[in-house]
């Protein structure tokens, strides 16, 4: 790897560990308040979402500002999002439910926000597993199709947050807007590409007919 790319990746790798370090320090100092378990699970959920939205922001950054570095760290940020999701879900399983599988099953069936979170978690697993270069090469076009799943997963993650909230939806509504922007850009680009495609063909056909 080129050394500047290496440094870039190392810097973002360390940066992605800061929230976890912060959590550990707060835990050590008893800074998580009266209900530290809830705080921890929510904090990890927050960072799962931030990093997921961060991943989706990198391509637009690349396209809008003609930067090359965002695409180089995209896979890593995506994997870190999965890492935080795993901690978030483990937190729920281990220190919220204490592996009471009966209760967990009931939760997944009965509490809509957990149902959605669970589906998102399951869908994220194949994306993480197929994130290696080797898999990407082996799967070719199927890889791209599979990784389009990140869009419904991100929508699901925001819904998970929205449905969890009791009444004050300020924060989930904000992330819904961020996500709408990120997805909107992609839709816009997709549409304009198609339109360009259509006009080009039309021009071409006309030319052929005139031919």
């Amino acid at each position: 790897m080129e050394s500047s790319t290496y440094r870039l990746k190392a810097a973002f790798f360390m940066a992605c560990l800061i929230p976890l370090a912060w959590l550990a320090i707060q835990k050590g100092f008893g800074g998580l308040g009266a209900n530290p378990i809830e705080k921890m699970i929510r904090f990890l959920g927050d960072w799962s979402l931030y990093l997921l939205l961060g991943t989706l922001a990198l391509t637009p950054m690349h396209r809008l500002f003609h930067l090359s570095w965002p695409t180089k760290i995209r896979r890593m940020i995506g994997l870190f999002s999965f890492f935080y999701v795993c901690l978030h879900v483990t937190g729920y399983l281990a220190i919220d439910q204490f592996f009471d599988w009966h209760e967990i099953r009931r939760d997944i069936i009965k509490r809509p926000f957990i149902t959605v979170g669970f589906v998102c978690f399951l869908l994220l697993i194949p994306l993480a597993v197929t994130s290696t270069n080797k898999m990407q090469r082996r799967m070719r076009r199927r890889w791209k199709q599979l990784h389009y799943f990140v869009y419904p997963i991100a929508i699901g993650a925001v819904i998970h947050f929205w449905w969890m909230v009791k009444k004050d939806i300020t924060r989930p509504a904000f992330y819904a807007m961020v996500l709408a922007l990120l997805l909107g850009l992609r839709i816009y680009w997709a549409l304009t590409r198609i339109k360009v495609g259509v006009t080009e063909t039309a021009v071409h056909e006309k030319a052929v007919r005139r031919g």
Partner: protein
């Protein structure tokens, strides 16, 4: 020469005495390099209140371990001061609780405005250690200071039309920053059936841990109904109205399919967001089973005899 206002001086002196602030100060100091210490609002809310004299112990109450004072006063749901659990302690410090009047009206003989201090003097104060179970799945054990709502109701003599009691919180967005956003349809309204209100366990609280009620816990006057979810315990009460029809509470207005009028603690009736089978007692690691009527079934079960508690949740 600069002359300080009385409350400013008092606040600072008491802050220095408090020992449990160290942690918060440490975080604030780390986060904003000491600037946190210059924000009095953050700390005033945590100042311990003056002791209330002449409080008798009550035969009602649990011997369970009490939730630490700093958690009881630092982890609150009081949306009038913000929707995060830490918001009320941070934002309620400057809330003015004197002068304060409580209007008692509706189907009642002695309908009028009572000054809060006059109202508190009407009945002897008791200490009652109650379990409190929040609908969100956590619980505390709190030593309240207060008097039975019953004694107030008897004193004001409701008429035969009074079937329910409706309580209202102060509406004052200047003083209650949370009311500037329509998170709920302000002011907060709660209600009880008259027999629930008359039950000896139902308390009007004016203090906790032997001290004057901190603002974030609902000063100067709040309701405590230990067998119901915490949100029934309306805070900052300015009006108690006796009515014939079931009041429409703030939470019923907000989400009628999620919050019922009764809202009795019931491990068998789930809320769509929270399973109600278990709860985490604040300060404990493992969860514990939630008890029917929050463990007060022997005392209050008869109020609901023959009722379908799934329907009347």
């Amino acid at each position: 020469m600069m002359i300080k206002k009385a409350d400013e001086i008092k606040g600072r002196e008491i802050t220095e005495k408090s020992t449990y602030l160290n942690r918060r100060q440490f975080i604030a100091a780390g986060a904003v390099l000491g600037a946190g210490l210059l924000l009095p609002g953050v700390f005033v809310g945590e100042v311990a209140g003056p002791k209330i004299p002449g409080v008798r112990p009550s035969p009602f109450g649990t011997k369970e371990e009490r939730t630490p004072y700093k958690d009881v006063t630092g982890y609150n749901n009081y949306y009038e001061f913000g929707t995060d659990k830490e918001d009320p302690a941070a934002n309620a410090g400057r809330f003015r609780i004197r002068p304060w009047t409580v209007r008692i009206d509706g189907a009642v003989k002695k309908s009028r405005e009572y000054d809060i201090d006059q109202l508190i003097k009407m009945s002897p104060l008791e200490e009652r250690v109650y379990r409190m179970r929040c609908v969100e799945g956590w619980s505390m054990v709190i030593p309240w200071v207060g008097f039975p709502l019953q004694s107030l109701i008897k004193a004001v003599e409701p008429s035969s039309q009074a079937k329910y009691v409706e309580f209202t919180t102060l509406l004052n967005p200047d003083q209650m920053p949370g009311q500037r956003r329509r998170v709920l349809d302000w002011p907060y309204v709660e209600g009880l059936r008259l027999d629930e209100a008359m039950h000896p366990l139902t308390l009007l609280a004016v203090g906790l841990y032997g001290e004057v009620l901190p603002n974030q816990n609902g000063a100067p006057l709040r309701l405590v109904v230990p067998w119901k979810y915490g949100f029934k315990g309306i805070k900052g009460i300015v009006r108690i109205r006796f009515v014939e029809h079931q009041p429409v509470t703030a939470w019923i207005k907000a989400a009628p399919n999620e919050y019922g009028f009764y809202s009795n603690v019931n491990p068998d009736v789930d809320h769509p967001r929270w399973s109600q089978r278990k709860e985490r007692r604040i300060g404990e690691f493992f969860k514990r089973e939630t008890l029917m009527f929050n463990g007060y079934a022997d005392q209050v079960g008869h109020l609901y005899a023959g009722m379908d508690l799934r329907k009347y949740f």
